[in-house]
């Protein structure tokens, strides 16, 4: 037996509707390892050819997300929490793979990349626990001046387009994705443009975590190509602009006004810090139900 074995490379594919398609456009782009020298991004070794998603891929992903919304938002909070916890379990078992991918993607040492993956696993666990608690902190029983039962409860806003952070390719991604889906939204994610591989591998974890197909859809490619389609899409209810820079973010917010999407503007975030509830609450609607009381 030879002591030098040629390894089997992975074909990275999109994750849409629970399946792993290539871009309908047939396009790919080269993904290279980050080098540690500042400004050397893109000069590293070749890692893979990632799908270069088209606008049609984005529309297909929205269709899948919409189709999944009824079932996912209608699932019990307990069930959604269990699914998110299952994602953490599956990820835990593949820590080494993700640590290697994050190290290559972000130019981190093995130890620092592993710490990112561990934090991402813990983040899934943290958000999993929120599924059946968020209504208790975001809802209210309202003492109206009359004989009425009056209750406000949060509901998912619908299909959320997520522009994942560009720099933090994995912990950042998990930090913006988990709070969107735990409350019952479905997501179409544009992954980090230059470092999409950890995100695309996450699709393999999601596919084996009892997450219904279409709840999370992952698109690699040029953010500036995919995002305008998502921002202008009439069947997208909200957009997280985390991965958009200032000028693009302003254009996308303008496009999003066309059907009054909820917009979360980009802001500096330390992805390793306690995330708080902001992202969790940003994609919720408050529904208030009245009913008369009487005999």
């Amino acid at each position: 037996m030879s002591d030098h074995r040629l390894n089997v490379l992975k074909t990275y594919k999109l994750f849409v509707g629970g399946r792993f398609p290539r871009s309908e456009s047939g396009r790919v782009y080269e993904v290279t390892a980050a080098t540690s020298a500042p400004g050397a991004a893109g000069q590293g070794d070749w890692l893979a050819n990632a799908p270069l998603s088209s606008r049609k891929d984005a529309r297909d992903a929205v269709t899948a997300a919409r189709k999944a919304f009824g079932g996912w938002s209608g699932a019990t909070a307990y069930n959604r929490g269990q699914v998110l916890y299952r994602i953490a379990e599956m990820l835990e078992g593949r820590r080494e793979q993700f640590a290697a991918e994050v190290a290559a993607a972000e130019g981190l040492s093995g130890a620092r990349a592993a710490a990112q993956v561990d934090a991402a696993v813990d983040r899934w666990v943290w958000y999993a626990g929120w599924s059946d608690k968020v209504a208790q902190i975001a809802g209210s029983a309202n003492p109206v001046a009359g004989p009425y039962f009056n209750l406000s409860t949060p509901e998912p806003t619908g299909v959320v387009a997520v522009l994942a952070p560009q720099e933090s390719s994995f912990l950042g991604l998990v930090s913006v994705l988990a709070p969107v889906v735990v409350t019952g939204n479905t997501a179409v994610v544009a992954t980090s443009e230059k470092a999409p591989l950890p995100a695309l591998s996450l699709g393999e974890v999601l596919a084996t975590s009892d997450l219904p197909g279409g709840v999370v859809n992952l698109l690699s490619g040029r953010t500036a190509e995919i995002a305008p389609t998502l921002a202008a899409h009439q069947d997208v209810n909200a957009i997280d602009l985390a991965g958009a820079d200032g000028a693009l973010a302003a254009d996308l917010e303008t496009a999003a006004a066309d059907n009054l999407k909820r917009v979360l503007r980009p802001q500096p975030v330390d992805w390793s810090a306690d995330p708080g509830t902001d992202r969790l609450l940003a994609f919720l609607e408050t529904k208030t139900v009245w009913h008369p009381m009487g005999v």
Partner: protein, 476 residues
């Protein structure tokens, strides 16, 4: 046997309307730069009530500067002190509520029964409710010591002039913001009277500024670089334009926009109660209500019975003098709005729906539209899709709860919905499926300062009322 009603007018003497009003900036009334004015009419008679200053861009700038100047001191006041100003305002509104109700009915055209029994009590209650929050913000769930945003630019509609002012100003001030508010062009007077109430309450100068004018004044305000927050209630079309204006800035935005609510009546609903709810849902405030139940979805098996009862009830609605205490439906707010209602109602006929209105004598002067219903409406008809904002009800039918949900949700709007059934589990199932911010079950058009109000989808975002309403004015 029909009983005639004798006229029962509320006295106009309780309100003293000046021949002209200026802008309220930094605690003083003054003319607009350039001296431009516009007239405000009583829509029930077309009588000119007063001449009002039309704020220029320069005036908006002065108002924003006044609000900015007042912000430091106001936001630094202990919450308990801000609360006391708001409690004072609530009390003065209660004291002057009859005067304000008559004024509102004159300027807006709404029946005195509604301005007296709905608008004004809710206005006072809103200030009372948010006054109590001002020193309890630490406990509101937005973290310790949440901060105000700064200067809020607020633009409100003409359908509930003083109530929309209260919804905007009370939470803004409670949270420590200062405001520049632009009332609607056709209903500026109650906001200007409110400015007087601020003076009676001793509110520090510049905390509340009122700039009157038309849409251009509102556009100047929301585009002004000196404001930190935009709050708008009005049409979805203008709301989208505002969202585009605000895009790419640091301004926060909340929008409360249009609606096309379904009022869904199941075959087991008590018909008489449902009819009252349907009538209240669409004819309250002449249908000038963003959450009006403008689409009646009735289960096929009771369609005939319900429509017969509804028509009988509609025939008893009294349309006329807003100041008459027996009036159910007042005047349409403006000639422009009347033209829009007529155009959409005509489109209903042109597209094949069947129009019905009770025999109804309308006054010769002023703007009037008889309560109207359309049957044979399909989901494709404009009167089933577009917000009419008038006393026009479109009737559609359904067979199953699933069909009712699908039809109710088949709209870009999502502000409110109504459900009429005796079956509790069906109410809760329906309520969970309807994509709307407020669900009235076996009731309709109920409002309360403790109850969050606001829409899904293109009905806007953010909530007004309740603990949730604080979020719009805190830096969280």
């Amino acid at each position: 046997m029909a009983f005639e009603y004798a006229p029962a007018p509320e006295s106009r003497a309780v309100v003293d309307i000046a021949p002209s009003y200026g802008l309220f900036i930094d605690g003083e009334f003054g003319e607009a730069t350039g001296g431009k004015v516009f007239k405000t009419l009583s829509p029930s008679s077309e009588e000119v009530l007063s001449e009002v200053a039309h704020a220029s861009a320069e005036d908006v700038d002065r108002a924003v500067a006044a609000a900015r100047g007042a912000f430091g001191t106001w936001s630094a006041l202990p919450g308990a002190e801000r609360a006391k100003y708001l409690f004072r305002i609530a009390r003065i509104i209660q004291e002057r509520s009859r005067e304000l109700a008559v004024l509102e009915s004159l300027d807006n055209g709404k029946p005195i029964r509604e301005s007296r029994d709905a608008d004004l009590p809710l206005v006072a209650a809103h200030f009372f409710y948010y006054a109590g929050w001002a020193d309890k913000l630490d406990h509101a769930g937005y973290g310790p010591d949440p901060k105000p945003l700064g200067v809020a630019g607020q633009v409100i509609p003409w359908n509930f002039p003083l109530l929309m002012l209260a919804w905007k100003i009370a939470p803004a001030l409670a949270c420590g913001n200062t405001v520049v508010l632009k009332p609607a062009e056709t209903t500026p007077l109650s906001a200007l009277f409110f400015a007087g109430i601020c003076r009676q309450a001793g509110l520090p100068r510049g905390v509340v500024n009122i700039v009157t004018g038309d849409g251009s004044t509102g556009a100047e305000l929301v585009a002004h670089p000196g404001i930190d927050k935009v709050a708008f209630t009005g049409s979805t079309e203008v709301g989208k334009a505002i969202a585009r204006t605000v895009a790419g800035t640091d301004k926060r935005l909340t929008l409360e926009l249009g609606g096309k609510a379904a009022n869904i009546v199941f075959d087991d609903a008590p018909i008489d109660q449902a009819v009252e709810g349907v009538v209240n849902g669409i004819f309250f405030n002449q249908g000038h209500v963003c959450c009006a139940g403008s689409r009646l979805l009735v289960q096929e098996s009771v369609q005939e019975e319900l429509l017969d009862a509804l028509k009988r009830r509609m025939a008893t609605l009294r349309v006329g003098d807003p100041l008459d205490k027996n009036t159910d439906i007042g005047a349409i707010n403006s000639a422009e709005q009347l033209a829009r209602i007529k155009e959409l109602a005509d489109s209903g006929e042109a597209e094949g729906a069947e129009r019905w209105a009770p025999a109804c004598e309308l006054p010769s002067a002023g703007y009037w539209f008889a309560p109207t219903l359309f049957t044979g409406v399909t989901q494709a008809h404009r009167i089933a899709r577009e917000e009419i904002f008038g006393p026009v009800l479109s009737v559609l039918t359904f067979r199953t709860p699933e069909e009712a949900v699908a039809k109710a949700n088949n709209t870009p709007y999502g502000l409110s919905a109504g459900i009429w059934t005796e079956k509790g589990s069906r109410i809760l199932w329906m309520a969970s499926k309807l994509r709307a911010g407020v669900i009235w079950s076996n009731t309709f058009n109920k409002f309360d300062p403790a109850s969050p109000f606001g829409g899904y989808k293109e009905s806007g975002f953010g909530r007004e009322g309740g603990r949730h309403g604080l979020e719009a004015y805190l830096n969280v």
